[in-house]
């Protein structure tokens, strides 16, 4: 079954890839983009100008147009780019005017910034450029540190500058208030011109090359980019101040150079290389977070001393170069410590340019056929890849512009190329004879934005058509090519470009006519030996044509045509848009194209290119799965089962399973129950047999030796409540819980010898457990979902009595089983819509399948399982102590912590010995200083403190004797599960209405918080399209962190300042509501998370207190006050029945303590929504739970005699009063937390 599973997974891989774009410019300056999901080049119609070059990143694309100006195309997003402008209005009290704008002369301005140092009247704010617009007018901020102010928004103080309070006191002499106005970047999905102004006026000469990257250098400010540009005179400029709130940047800064640069390339990280006119390369050094421009250049020689470099392309860890003989070179030994690398390796293929995109994937334009090529097989372990493969898809305008196609050919394109280069921006109208084929190409290309002309007259005396002005790279390569090697000086060369003397131009024209065949088709260029991708040129054919070359060009067009198709791709001969329509590319940029070697792209086979089937594959369920016929079969089959089997279950089976017991045995290690606890070797066996009702049952046996005596321990499979994998870097262990062991906080912990063995056992046990409980197939819509701190996802099928009152199913008896995938949080509703968010904030929607991960065979569905990845950081700390002689050193006191440690300081963690969290994770980056740690850091990432362990701050004071800094290293996990990605906006929280929508088409309200704190409302979520269609951005004055929507569309959210907000007027008609109502947090508490059920509203604050909102009525949906319910709470989930479940922080069992435990509020009733006490379930490393799918109303039993003592007796006395103060748990056995937190 494994094989079946795998093949199907592979088939569906391509579908859940977020869409991203590959950008390219053709030789006529038309800009195209190709979507990873698409199958044709889409022309960027918006570009009225022809472009020379483009450089793309994920969020935008920069380009140089033929007017030599730089243009920026920011991709539109559901979340707009908004910037909050603020200014403060200051007033002083005097006995005459009361508070007024009569300030003292020594005071600040009446309008100022927050510090009072800058004069900022409202009318001093201007839009940074015409690409921005104001969202509205100025308004007063009435939220002060999470608390609402009086109507006017004033805050009071004794004097400037001082601490302000929202209440006016007797000694309040000054007051101020904050005015806010938002501006929004409006020029999205269009080319916006960037003024070419340096900090000292307009730049002297136009731009010639551009490269964008550097977003990995630092994550703050977000969206920061490095943009490098080269001017025609060979100067290099760096664009300052590009980040999310300023996509255009501030201005150009010149970067000093050791020579004159022709081309530059900037990778996602700190790699920047450039090519000098003389053919050497230079490498930028000293690029850091604080200095993204770097500090100095180092020269690297050209790979080939005979032929200088003309082009370079860098990625994260790779450098590729092209020399002027069009050979390609790969630089060995590049890493962040050695950006220079160690040596060149010649690669197969000949290219005019190369671009390195995301994931170090490589794109090139071949000099042979001007097609875009993709380097196959580039992986982190094989960065140089395997082979070139042509991107072979049509352009969207191909059919339209196909009027004069028959006579044009690659052949003539060859002529065209060698001539075109010199003719850049020269309108040589009076050229001598031109032949037909050439003419056709030029004609098509010359007017990209106008409809194609009629078939050109094949007239040898016709005037030479207009030659496209943009030639981009070919310009440079020709400038540097053999004829121009001995360049006198930069200026002459530069001026030679735009204004070549006429004679020279025509000389080259002449040149171009005879040798083009040799240039384009000569066997020497037909590809490197041994590479099949390049050997599709039939040499013999070519040679015959070489013989007839010039004649063919001039006269026999049919002949040329056939030559071209032989030379380019025989594949395409029957295509309606044949070889003559073959696009000729000049530039390609993959910096925004999120592919890797596993991506399934439909770009390489033009046979299916125009079928739109792939594009129609939506994120939701594929059409075949929703088709009526399919539904009919499902319905009828289940009807049939009911009809033919349900009433006849008492009938005998035709043949009984033989009574044999099926046994699987193995050797394992067991964390023994008695002290001293340690791993001991045991024999382990699962005996399975048919249970009394035909379902499988079994017993687990664990045979061990105790004092030389053979003993065993057993567990009935139908009593196992959960199997928890606990992979860590040293052992492959899992924990088996029963209800009893959940109470004790002491599972059976077992370790298998290998990961494979562990997965075999887990899969088998998991199937047995599910079988014994009659659970199969996907989780029901009512299911409870939870996530452990390892990211494992579990579901529990609720029994109807789970929410019964007074006798609910005890929490520790709930049976949980695992679902594939890796998530940080999961949210669902009772209609079966389930969304998850990964550690890397990627958003996933549940596909309706089951299994994945290690679960195979019957425990896993064959379709609806997709690849899922997640990325997280591992942190270690570098600790130092100050001493008067040497300052801070890594020599601490003997009593100090390790100089490299974990957060607690107790565990030594060096860069070398720290491993990824489990074998499933692999490192994807190197160690880097983490500046984002709370408390702030200095420029080198250090945080200071008086001593270990205390609270740290970001600057050194006199009292500080120790310092630490945090290092982070990213690791990545790849698994499978019933999840599909919902690109592109990463989220930090999500919520789905817990009940409602009855029909299939009715939209289901779903709200989310982006990882940047934007509030979003999902449109188009229905049962059939659980992924929805798009986001609607809901404006807020500050970033938010948690959100929840209740059964009656009541939306509550928590802002980063810890206060709560209620969204007014959210209805089905107005899904995003109208405005936010500020709800103060409980006194001196910053709220952290909110959950809204049918009517109840619960929040958790940063100190683990659980709060209930009092006084909610239909007329006052905001309620009146917060009531404290419990402490020791990490997260809360309130369901559609107003049932309350939490993740409790520290729960005492009879054997040990567990952190992160699922708990159920008992005694919750309509008249008593706060409940009475907690019932404790599975725990030890649980991070998240959602009960918002469970709408099973339990049959109500009235038990007036119920006393609180009865309920309390369900739990032990210790638990009814959760510890007020965090217990010390350092010495408790780790068994309590099967999944270590």
């Amino acid at each position: 079954m494994k094989a079946v599973h795998l093949t199907l997974v592979r088939l569906s891989l391509g579908l859940n890839m977020p869409v991203s774009l590959l950008w390219a410019v053709d030789v006529y300056g038309r800009v195209y983009s190709l979507s990873t999901r698409g199958q044709q080049w889409e022309q960027c119609r918006d570009a009225v100008l022809e472009f020379k070059r483009v450089t793309a990143v994920q969020q935008c694309c920069w380009g140089i147009a033929c007017d030599h100006h730089i243009y920026l195309n920011v991709h539109s997003s559901d979340v707009p780019i908004r910037y909050q402008e603020e200014t403060f209005e200051n007033q002083r009290w005097n006995p005459m005017d009361n508070f007024s704008d009569h300030l003292l002369p020594s005071d600040r301005w009446q309008w100022s910034n927050i510090t009072g140092l800058e004069h900022q009247p409202l009318d001093s704010f201007f839009l940074p450029s015409t690409n921005w617009e104001w969202e509205g007018d100025w308004y007063i901020d009435e939220n002060f540190g999470g608390e609402p102010t009086e109507k006017e928004g004033w805050t009071y103080a004794i004097d400037f500058p001082a601490t302000y309070t929202k209440d006016k006191k007797w000694n309040s002499c000054v007051r101020r208030r904050r005015w806010i106005r938002y501006r929004r970047y409006k020029a999205t999905d269009t080319w916006a011109k960037i003024p070419s102004e340096g900090h000292s006026g307009p730049l002297p000469d136009p731009f010639n090359d551009i490269s964008c990257g550097g977003w990995e250098i630092s994550e703050e400010p977000r969206g920061r980019l490095s943009l490098w540009a080269v001017s025609l005179q060979g100067k290099v400029w760096f664009r300052e101040g590009i980040h999310h709130h300023s996509p255009e940047g501030d201005g150009w800064e010149e970067v000093s150079l050791p020579g004159e640069v022709v081309q530059i390339s900037c990778g996602p990280g700190d790699l920047v290389w450039a090519v000098l006119w003389e053919g050497q390369l230079i490498v930028r050094e000293g690029i850091t977070r604080d200095c993204p421009r770097g500090s100095s250049w180092v020269v690297v020689d050209s790979p080939n001393p005979e032929a200088g470099a003309i082009h370079v392309a860098v990625g994260d860890n790779v450098v590729w170069a092209v020399t002027k003989d069009n050979k390609i070179w790969y630089r060995r030994g590049i890493n962040s410590y050695n950006p220079r690398g160690s040596g060149w390796i010649g690669m197969i293929g000949e290219m005019v340019m190369i671009n390195v995109g995301l994931n170090d994937q490589v794109w090139g334009i071949s000099c042979e056929d001007r097609a875009v090529y993709f380097r196959q097989g580039v992986t982190s372990s094989e960065l140089s890849g395997k082979a070139w493969k042509a991107v072979n898809v049509p352009r969207d305008g191909d059919i339209r512009s196909h009027s004069s196609a028959s006579s044009s050919s690659l052949h003539s394109a060859g002529c065209f190329f060698s001539g075109e280069v010199r003719a850049q921006s020269v309108m040589s109208e009076d050229s001598d004879t031109k032949n037909g084929p050439q003419r056709a190409v030029l004609e098509v290309g010359a007017c990209p934005s106008s409809p194609p002309p009629d078939p050109p007259p094949v007239d040898p005396d016709a005037p030479k058509p207009r030659i496209p002005k943009v030639t981009s790279d070919s310009f440079i390569s020709e400038m540097l090519s053999d004829r121009k090697v001995k360049r006198e000086g930069p200026t002459t060369a530069v001026t030679a470009g735009p204004s070549i003397p006429e004679e020279e131009a025509s000389l080259r024209e002449a040149d171009a006519k005879s040798p083009p065949l040799a240039l384009v088709l000569s066997p020497s260029l037909s590809g490197g030996p041994g590479d099949p991708q390049w050997s599709n040129v039939d040499l013999e054919e070519t040679q015959t044509h070489l013989a007839v070359g010039p004649a063919g060009v001039r006269g026999d067009t049919a002949d040329t045509c056939s030559l071209s198709s032989v030379a380019t791709y025989t594949l395409c001969q029957e295509e309606p848009y044949g070889a003559d329509e073959h696009p000729l590319w000049a530039w390609v940029s993959g910096g925004g194209c999120g592919v890797d070697c596993h991506s399934q792209l439909n770009w390489f086979n033009s046979a299916t290119a125009l079928s739109s089937s792939v594009q129609s594959m939506s994120l939701s369920i594929s059409p075949a799965q929703t088709a009526a016929w399919r539904k009919q079969i499902f319905e009828q089959l289940s009807e049939r089962s009911k009809r033919e089997m349900d009433n006849f279950k008492h009938y005998e089976q035709a043949i009984e399973q033989s009574q044999s017991v099926w046994v699987k045995k193995g050797a394992m290690q067991w964390w023994r129950d008695w002290k001293p606890h340690k791993w001991v070797d045991v024999r382990f066996a699962l005996e399975q047999f048919s249970g009394p009702e035909g379902n499988q049952d079994g017993i687990l046996f664990l045979y061990y030796n105790f004092n030389e005596e053979k003993k065993y321990l057993h567990a009935f499979i139908n009593e196992v409540t959960i199997l928890v994998p606990v992979l860590n870097d040293s052992k492959h262990t899992f924990a088996v819980y029963t209800a009893e062991r959940t109470k004790q906080r002491w599972p059976i912990r077992l370790a298998a010898a290998t990961e494979l063995e562990m997965h075999d056992w887990l899969a088998l046990l998991s199937v047995s457990c599910c079988d014994s409980r009659g659970i199969q197939g996907p989780p029901s819509k009512q299911a409870l979902w939870s996530v452990t701190c390892k990211g494992d996802v579990f579901v529990c099928e609720p029994s109807p009595s789970l929410e019964a009152c007074p006798y609910p199913t005890p929490c520790d008896q709930m049976f949980w089983h695992q679902v594939g995938g890796h998530l940080r949080l999961v949210e669902c509703n009772s209609l079966g819509v389930v969304w998850g968010v990964g550690y890397d904030h990627t958003v996933w929607v549940y596909t309706g399948g089951y299994g994945g991960g290690f679960l195979q065979g019957l425990a896993s569905s064959t379709d609806n399982i997709y690849t899922q990845t997640d990325v997280k950081c591992v942190y270690i700390y570098e600790n130092q102590r100050w001493n008067p002689v040497t300052g801070y050193t890594n020599r601490g006191l003997p009593t100090d912590r390790y100089m490299w440690s974990d957060a607690t300081g107790l565990q030594e963690c060096t860069k070398a010995n720290t491993k990824p969290p489990s074998p499933h994770w692999t490192w994807v980056a190197d160690w880097a200083i983490d500046y984002g740690i709370s408390g702030g850091t200095d420029r080198e990432g250090w945080q200071y403190a008086a001593d270990f362990p205390t609270s740290y701050h970001g600057h050194k004071t006199l009292k500080d004797f120790v310092r630490r800094r945090r290092w982070a290293r990213k690791c990545k996990l790849t698994t499978t599960g019933p999840w599909q990605e919902v690109p592109p906006i990463p989220l930090s929280d999500v919520t789905i209405i817990p009940c409602g929508a009855q029909s299939i088409v009715e939209p289901i309200p779903l709200w989310a918080i982006s990882n940047k704190g934007d509030v979003l409302c999902r449109l188009g979520v229905t049962l059939l399209t659980p992924a929805g269609t798009s986001w609607l951005h809901v404006g807020t004055d500050q970033p938010f962190k948690s959100i929840s929507i209740g059964g009656a569309n009541q939306v509550w959210a928590i802002a980063r300042d810890g206060s709560a907000f209620y969204r007014g007027s959210v209805t089905a008609q107005s899904p995003s509501g109208d405005c936010w109502y500020h709800i103060p947090s409980p006194v001196r508490q910053k709220l952290q998370q909110v959950s809204v059920g049918r009517t109840s509203v619960y929040t958790v604050d940063q100190h683990g207190n659980l709060w209930f909102r009092q006084g909610l009525t239909p007329s006052c949906p905001q309620g009146s006050s917060w009531e404290h319910i419990s402490n020791n709470v990490r997260k809360v989930s309130v369901g559609p029945l107003d049932q309350v479940w939490i993740i409790a922080d520290k729960v005492q069992g009879s054997h040990s303590l567990s952190c992160g435990t699922v708990c159920h509020r008992l005694g919750v009733q309509p008249m008593e929504p706060k409940g009475q006490s907690w019932d404790y379930g599975i725990g030890g490393g649980w991070d998240h739970i959602t009960v918002r799918g469970n709408s099973f109303e339990a049959p109500r039993v009235r038990m007036p005699s119920l006393t609180p003592s009865l309920t309390a007796s369900l739990t032990d006395p210790l638990r009814t009063h959760p510890p007020r103060r965090p217990l010390s748990f350092r010495n408790t056995e780790e068994n309590g937390n099967a999944v270590r937190c």
Binding site: A624, T862, D863
Partner: protein, 281 residues
Amino acid sequence: MADDKDVLRDVWFGRIPTCFTLYQDEITEREAEPFYLLLPRMSYLTLVTDKVKKHFLKVMKAEDIEEMWFDFEGTSLKWHYPIGLLFDLHASNTALPWSITVHFKNFPERDLLHCPSNSVIEAHFMSSIKEADALKHKSQVINDMQKKDHKQLWMGLQNVVLCSSDKFDQFWAMNRKLMEYPTEEGGFRYIPFRIYLTMSDRPFIQKLFRPISPDGHTHTLGDLLKEVYPVAIPNDDESKHYQVVIHGIEPLLETPLQWLSEHLSHPDNFLHISVIPAPSD
């Protein structure tokens, strides 16, 4: 949001509640109680009726016993048709349990094949599979299989009667190979199907039929019937005269044939389609 695999599972675990009664003319020592049993739809009568035989033998003398055979309302039941097919064809619209009469005498030589042992069933089953694969893959898959793989298919069928997920997995581990096809072709060469009519002298209709039309369209169940037995397709204006039943359900006519072949075929890899008169109310 169910899964295609659930279809396979439902089909595999299909059972028909059956009541076996002894033919009235059989000679017994004392009255024979009827015998109730869940018959697997995917299996064959003679393969799963050992218990029935044992049950009735208890009340009969050994000398009165010849080869056991069955009828339903006077129609002899062919053991070499899958049980589900027999039920759909003859008893679709009758009350459950399915009432089958058991005979030990007067074997209807004209209607039925003898079934002296399970090896006969195995031979019949394997020849069906081979025929199906000849249609689907020019026999390439079945010929590539080893003897033990063949055995596994047969064991799988025998184990249909066991309510065990393992057996389902075991069978499909092998049967999967028979269900594969080159992606670019979009389906099998021909669909192995048989259409059974109650009102016909012909035992069944079987023709060469491709899952994809020459112009690249997916053939549906409706296309097949239009080609092979157009009478079964209701006209727009009249009421339905025939039911088209597979595994006790009536798939919509627009159901792709390839999908049906992959998911609703019997273990012998044939799609057995019953066309029966619609019940007149």
